[in-house]
Symmetry: C2
Subunit: 667 residues, 2 copies
């Protein structure tokens, strides 16, 4: 939570003055290297011992930052881990989906909803909402299960540069009353002389940083911790009025009153990188850093060689392929919580000798999925009742179509749900792209859902289902990313749906699709424009040259002169772009890569007796791009074609059984 109060801290801590260290602290410090070298030998953690970690996490951005922490922890760990996550609803959705799909062996994750304990700290006067989450660390002895006796508590903005077992081992050095292991604060904040009338909360010497805490829950419980910190906080709040550094102020006030509770940890277990700290004197002295704390996650200038060092360390885990962390720990197999869950693909369901093995696997892969990768905030308009007809555009893409998002956002002002198929590195590039793109940076009604790459086939229908699954409006417009809707399609759809009584029965509104074969297109502003361009050959009906069946059922000749919506019948291989209810059937996962991924879906709509109604004044236009790698693979590989045929007939047969109908055999 340090991150979210950072704006405030970096202003306050901006001045560096050196003071004589508090005598008590000086006594305790000793020689760090010596202390450390003793610890690594004396305090070994036994093989397969479970290490307990608690993190408070709220909101989209903290969730993203926490993933980097988790990756660094997993990279170096050699022990089973148990994560205890105290989250708000947003972070809970994101992180429970992420860990479920990540399937990391020998890591258990427990969630605790912040709402249940927020009342314990919400009475504390606080400068902004996120501060409440910052304060939640105070409630851990109560919030965590009583069977849990000790836990490492981390801020979301720390990165490990070593095995966390070494930190866990330090618990063994905590004596009698020592219930909180902490690193000294590396700024001068608590010395209280940063500016005139600067009055920080009371602390021992420089105070202690709560980004990394060894918390002995048993000892705290036996000291009646909730009562203890509350008494001291209430007393100090009479003069302080509010906390400045959230939980850290209160922990320091408690320690100042009860120094025996403190166990000091060497500085390199929490190297604090906010502006003007004394952290440099820590990291240049020791041979290795253990934990970096990005108190101030602002962009580091390249010209500072230290900054570059830390930036590289951070990028290492930011860009690290999280799938590689699914490695088993040797000899700790007993700990696997759930054999089934710990495998991200259930191979047993497929016969390995099947020639279509690779294609069949796709259906069973749990792709690691990070929902709402960026800030998302969409409130449906409801005062005028228009939310009743609100519609979200649903699409999926990989990096090579990234630029399309901007154009799409310009053509569709309504909510959008996008699934993005990317590597961890590409996710970072995507992040920079959105931040630097004016059109997108301020749009909060686009939900970006990152699905991490796995295997060689583009899981198009998995992506569609992920994007579809996060829609909150009653209707969805199922489109592909290489299409641009006509300007004004969003309000047009909302109007038309109300007239068509869209909520009654199964209806699919068909938006006719056209195609430009040229790069430079003056996008048609009206239907009249579009018809003119069709006549002179600047536009074509979609896939007119190669796959007319896909859209022929829309009846383009009729559409030319239509002024009112008209019904059409489903035909074989029909794959129109449609507006449907959000609870439409999911896309069939066996179709990945090129071929039949939409055809199969339209067929299921037909099986459910959907009416296909073509809208007379709506259209989308396919924008040119180089052929996708998947099409190239399809063309090159006879096995791909053969397996696709097998999957098709299996799908048809499943559909017949499910709906008791038979369909004509396609090609």
């Amino acid at each position: 939570m340090r991150q979210e109060v950072d704006g405030m801290k970096s202003v306050h801590e901006g001045v560096l003055t050196l003071h004589k260290p508090h005598p008590l602290v000086a006594d305790q410090r000793g020689n760090i290297d010596e202390m450390e070298s003793k610890l690594t030998t004396e305090a070994a953690v036994s093989k397969c011992e479970v290490i307990q970690v608690a993190i408070v996490c709220a909101g989209h951005n903290s969730s993203r930052s926490m993933v980097t922490l988790i990756k660094s922890m997993l990279f170096y760990r050699k022990n089973p881990l148990h994560l205890h996550l105290i989250t708000d609803a947003k972070a809970h959705l994101i992180l429970s989906t992420l860990f479920d799909t990540w399937s990391i062996p020998q890591m258990e994750v427990s969630f605790y909803l912040a709402d249940n304990v927020v009342s314990e700290v919400s009475w504390i006067p606080n400068k902004h909402y996120s501060g409440v989450y910052g304060l939640l660390k105070l409630t851990l002895p109560k919030a965590l299960p009583s069977s849990l006796r000790k836990v490492i508590v981390l801020d979301t903005d720390v990165t490990f540069a070593t095995d966390i077992a070494q930190l866990w081992a330090l618990f063994q050095n905590m004596k009698s009353d020592q219930a909180l292991g902490l690193v000294e604060n590396q700024s001068d904040w608590y010395l209280g002389k940063l500016w005139k009338n600067h009055r920080p909360w009371p602390a021992l010497g420089r105070g202690y940083n709560t980004g990394v805490i060894l918390m002995d829950l048993s000892k705290l419980r036996s000291m009646n911790w909730p009562h203890l910190w509350r008494m001291i906080a209430e007393r100090d709040l009479q003069t302080m009025l509010s906390t400045s550094l959230a939980d850290q102020d209160i922990f320091n006030a408690v320690l100042q009153q009860n120094p025996r509770m403190l166990h000091e940890i060497p500085c390199h277990w929490n190297v604090q990188l906010s502006d003007n700290t004394r952290s440099e004197s820590c990291y240049t002295e020791v041979a290795d850093l253990k934990v970096i704390h990005w108190n101030s996650p602002k962009k580091l200038r390249v010209k500072n060689k230290h900054a570059e060092f830390f930036r590289n360390l951070h990028l290492t885990f930011l860009e690290y392929d999280g799938n590689l962390l699914r490695r088993e720990l040797f000899g700790c197999s007993n700990y696997s919580t759930n054999k089934q869950a710990s495998s991200y693909i259930n191979h047993e369901q497929i016969n390995e000798d099947d020639a279509c093995y690779e294609f069949r696997c796709v259906k069973y892969i749990k792709y690691r999925t990070h929902l709402f990768y960026l800030d998302y905030d969409y409130e449906q308009e409801s005062s005028d009742g228009s939310s009743e007809w609100d519609v979200t555009l649903v699409a999926q893409l990989s990096m090579d179509r990234l630029q399309m998002i901007e154009s799409l956002a310009k053509h569709w002002e309504g909510p959008i749900s996008l699934a993005l198929y990317m590597s961890d590195t590409e996710a970072q590039q995507f992040l920079s792209f959105v931040i630097s793109c004016e059109t997108l940076a301020n749009r909060k009604n686009i939900g970006y859902h990152v699905v991490y790459k796995e295997g060689s086939l583009y899981p198009i229908n998995f992506l569609r289902n992920v994007a579809l699954g996060q829609v909150t409006t009653p209707y969805v417009f199922l489109l592909d990313i290489d299409f641009l809707p006509m300007l004004g399609l969003y309000p047009y759809l909302k109007r038309v749906m109300s007239n068509l009584h869209m909520s009654e029965g199964n209806k699919a509104l068909v938006i006719p699709a056209f195609e430009s074969l040229r790069y430079r297109l003056n996008f048609p502003k009206t239907k009249a424009d579009l018809l003119k361009m069709l006549d002179v050959g600047d536009l074509f009906t979609f896939r007119y040259h190669v796959w007319p069946k896909g859209h022929a059922a829309s009846d383009y000749p009729k559409w030319r002169s239509a002024t009112t919506p008209y019904k059409v019948n489903w035909e074989q291989d029909f794959e129109p772009y449609v507006v449907v209810r959000r609870d439409v059937p999911e896309f069939d996962l066996r179709f990945a890569g090129f071929g039949w991924n939409k055809v199969s879906h339209t067929m299921e709509l037909e099986a459910q007796n959907y009416q296909f109604i073509v809208l007379p004044n709506a259209f989308v236009v396919h924008m040119p791009h180089a052929p996708s790698l998947d099409i190239a693979k399809y063309r090159a590989n006879p096995l791909y074609k053969r397996c696709l045929d097998t999957l098709k007939s299996e799908f048809m047969s499943d559909l017949s059984i499910k709906y008791g109908k038979t369909f004509p055999v396609g090609n």
Copy 2:
């Protein structure tokens, strides 16, 4: 070198039988974990102590494999390193360029040409050429400088999973005569009972693996090592006839005679993953692995969970962004060999307040460059004298154009030099792409030069210069990757150059450029075909709609009816695709991304009084693709345009000074 003799080993070691360990070995082993825990405390390596490492490396594939080793070593290291590389000419070119451009602080690299010592071992009967390089480890005490007293010797196919300082520390445990620190061999090879009449070289018990050696050079020198191993090898060769496992056989024979020289290292310092080894009993016992030895780098099946563990570890460093390893070691600044060289970009040359700072930087960035990333073997035909007119196609690309390589290779059977701008991860994808592509897998006359991504601009001219710099034919054809040459252009050019007396004076043969705006193009087979397609609008002259000036000087109307080469004059903004001598001026590095990168080059040709001669029966056709990100940036960013204008006028002014000519001001 293990890798290159692997085919042989994995056959021989394919059977697993367990034998009673040799008594001597059993005594020495003891409890590994206990031994290890002693070592980490007793034998600390002091901060900033330089760790010496020697590696023998020959050929393209070993160079690539060695980079993964180096990355893993750098990732965990906290000490300065000095690499001693014994290489053949190919590996020397590749690795010296790589390390020069990598600019890793606190890592020194010394090269030793294998040719100088190969005679010491080439007399040993050996089954294939690479074996000579395998044997070179025997010569290290002589080949390495006498000031070097101890060194860690590694095969190229090992990966570190821990800090190499821990291995270096084991030198302190080597007593009196112990000159070679080795891990026991984890296969049954030396037990000599794998099959009937299996007669391995003599060894102590299971023998020792030479993939990781702690070599005390001083002790070996004082024992007259060259004499020692030679005597034993000569004697054993009388009965053995040749070595099977290269140096490893001879090291084992020497140790069998001189067991006092051996210091055994715990098994996890060389976990040998060839088929059916006893390595599993090592890696499931210990808490952590230190060094993995990929004796058998074949594809590991996903269904084996151990295989997956090791594959992930390997991929971690294969795909790791090497640029991130340019981090400085804190507090070891004294060791920096060369301050200038250790910075991959010399910032001092640019004023940071310059609005065009980002654009000016590009010129000074040393992009990490891995030449000849894949096998390359091109012998110019010379018997018939045709090599006199041989010509290499030069181009550059990033991942989004990868598919173009295949088409290009089909249209151009001659040598090609390609610079590829990629991340480390993309380089792996590129590797798989080439291996799986029939057309490319067997072509050895394509030089692939990987330039690793750095910063946000596509360094188009740096890439062109890299590709140009590795050409060995007298002529080059400077093309862009999105063009396909007419079929038969390669032999046509060689014929035409001989007729045109290409070697006399400065000549640039212009190949007229056309453009298809449609995806599906029936590529014109002849000039007549092409003219027909022009007439019906299926093709256009290149950039006819948006930038006619670039190629107008080729005089398309004249070309239509031309049957013989004709001269044209340079005109402003001319940027034709040309065939020129290899020693043509380099492309100007200040132009990166979109704009003026070729125009400036053509201008310099004009300044050097090149004759521009258009070929009547040659053409190239631009294939459609979505606009590049660089063009999008150019269009979106007014600063980009302004800076490009500044760079243009600076280039013009530099050119005027260099050649004493003035050029009309462009746009």
